[in-house]
Subunit: 313 residues, 2 copies
């Protein structure tokens, strides 16, 4: 068993989970607890790699399961289902988080959660409260995570506390969130080493509803142009899927995480359903869905409505 | 439904639960949230009455159940079973606590718990962190609760954080915890309006084990003398119970919460078991059990051991 107290975020770690573990480890050390170690619970994504590379920091060690009795500190999550393997047998000493709660500890612990956009905003407050200096590296890690979780303060999850933290973190880090944050987000959505077929399959869901069989695929991007300059290749990959899977239509949505819009490619015999669903013309198989970012909440329902109104489209 | 956000502690409220609600209400107001109201979830005990009377404060309003959707802030507890009626239908906005956890919120909330001796120690930190002045009344409320929960810093639950808070709270309040705290604890254990029969029945448990039928009754006190000057009356009440309930013996423990000892009266045919259990002589039916305060952990086990070793006592 690891002698040190392990600090980690949720599975499939994002920038907040990875950087919060590092920032929490530093806080513990500054407060006199040397016996701590930030680790990661899964592969580091491209966005987080960009941040660590920018600062010349190594990736934390990968830990996928803990032994019975391991002492741990959870950041950016609290629910056992989102945590490391065997978490139910670990001894949780502290939690720092900003999510909804489903947590049991049959002993006293330190628990700190606030309804803000990012765990790092809570950690920022903890540094201030304990008079621990936020140096340039720590400020950059905090700023990166807030930029990631709040889509550069544009997400509706952004709070005043996040904005206030960013103001000071920009000064300390010497970075501008609207340039550094966007560069980081772009790095996270880099699909330059993916084939069009791989891109449309990053997150593609099959639906069989209203007597129709269709897919809605989604990819996040900070650079719609880099995708649509290869539109012909994407159409070829989509049409192959339509033929292979006998689909009535296929919607591929490239979601612009900076401007909170989605540009779609719609193909297949029933592709015109998209015009009806969103009330906009489809031109050259593409359309821009303004302020639409969520497949579950903003894409699927209008498409189902349109199908239900005219199933013999 | 109450328009204001209700702030309250656990059922059967103690000094920490009642005063923490008042102190949290003040903090919220100082931070700009006027729409809050401290309430109590049950009868105020004598100890807490002493504190409120000392400060000339009125008892918070009694609220025993909340309507669906009521917004609330929990202090000094988090588990639904310990909370107000219908808590499962309330909207919990914040929790400030120092207990073990069993808590679910399907939305983001403010949750603040620390492994310290008293909720007021957490609130003390929150005042400092937010640069909110701790005035004389607030300091007295905080000091009272810490004195109550930690038995004037003598309980093994006391932490360095509690002691540190007390140092400053003594200065602000102008009170000495070892005099004011003891006076308060004494007021809490005031049984001057109870008959001896009522006193022995405040918390009396019947045991039928090892072929013996016996009771162990316990009452907390800060003044053993006030009880034992009436020893004859207590013995009369105990002997009546022994006869009425056909008991083999009866142990009545007056637990000195200041010095963490228990002085017992032991009566009945098998009363000598007490000498065997604790390895001390019983004189005039009484004995002093040094460092013994817990019936469950420190009184019952040695008595059962003594009975098992010689059931035909």
């Amino acid at each position: 068993m690891e002698n040190k107290v392990l600090i980690f975020g949720h599975k499939s770690p994002d920038t907040d989970s990875v950087t919060s573990a590092i920032v929490m480890e530093n806080l513990e050390r500054k407060l006199g607890n040397e016996n701590v170690k930030a680790v990661r619970t899964g592969e580091i994504n491209k966005e987080t790699k960009y941040v660590l590379n920018f600062l010349g920091l190594e990736e934390p060690e990968l830990v996928e399961t803990v032994e019975d009795g391991q002492e741990v500190i959870l950041v950016d999550h609290n629910e056992a289902t989102q945590s490391i393997g065997n978490i139910e047998n670990a001894k949780v000493l502290k939690v720092v988080d900003h999510h909804s709660m489903n947590f049991i500890a049959p002993y006293q612990i330190y628990y700190r959660a606030e309804p803000v956009g990012c765990t790092q905003t809570v950690l920022y407050k903890m540094y201030k409260e304990n008079d621990v200096e936020i140096d340039k590296n720590i400020a950059t890690l905090m700023l990166s995570a807030i930029a990631s979780d709040t889509l550069v303060l544009k997400s509706p999850t952004t709070t005043e506390a996040d904005k206030k933290a960013v103001q000071e973190l920009e000064k300390i880090s010497g970075l501008d969130i609207s340039t550094f944050g966007v560069d980081m987000l772009k790095a996270g959505t880099d699909i330059s080493d993916f084939t069009p077929e791989q891109v449309i399959n990053i997150d593609s869901k099959l639906f069989e509803q209203s007597n129709k069989r269709f897919r809605i695929a989604q990819v996040n991007t900070a650079d719609l142009d880099s995708i649509f300059k290869n539109q012909a290749y994407f159409e070829q990959a989509i049409n192959e899927d339509i033929e292979k899977e006998n689909l009535d239509f296929y919607v591929f949505a490239a979601t612009d995480i900076i401007n909170s819009n989605s540009k779609i490619i719609s193909l297949g015999n029933d592709a015109p359903v998209v015009e009806k669903a969103f009330g906009i013309p489809v031109d050259n198989h593409t359309a821009m869905l303004e302020n639409v970012v969520s497949r579950k909440k903003q894409m699927l329902p209008p498409i189902l409505n349109a199908l239900n109104g005219d199933v013999n489209l």
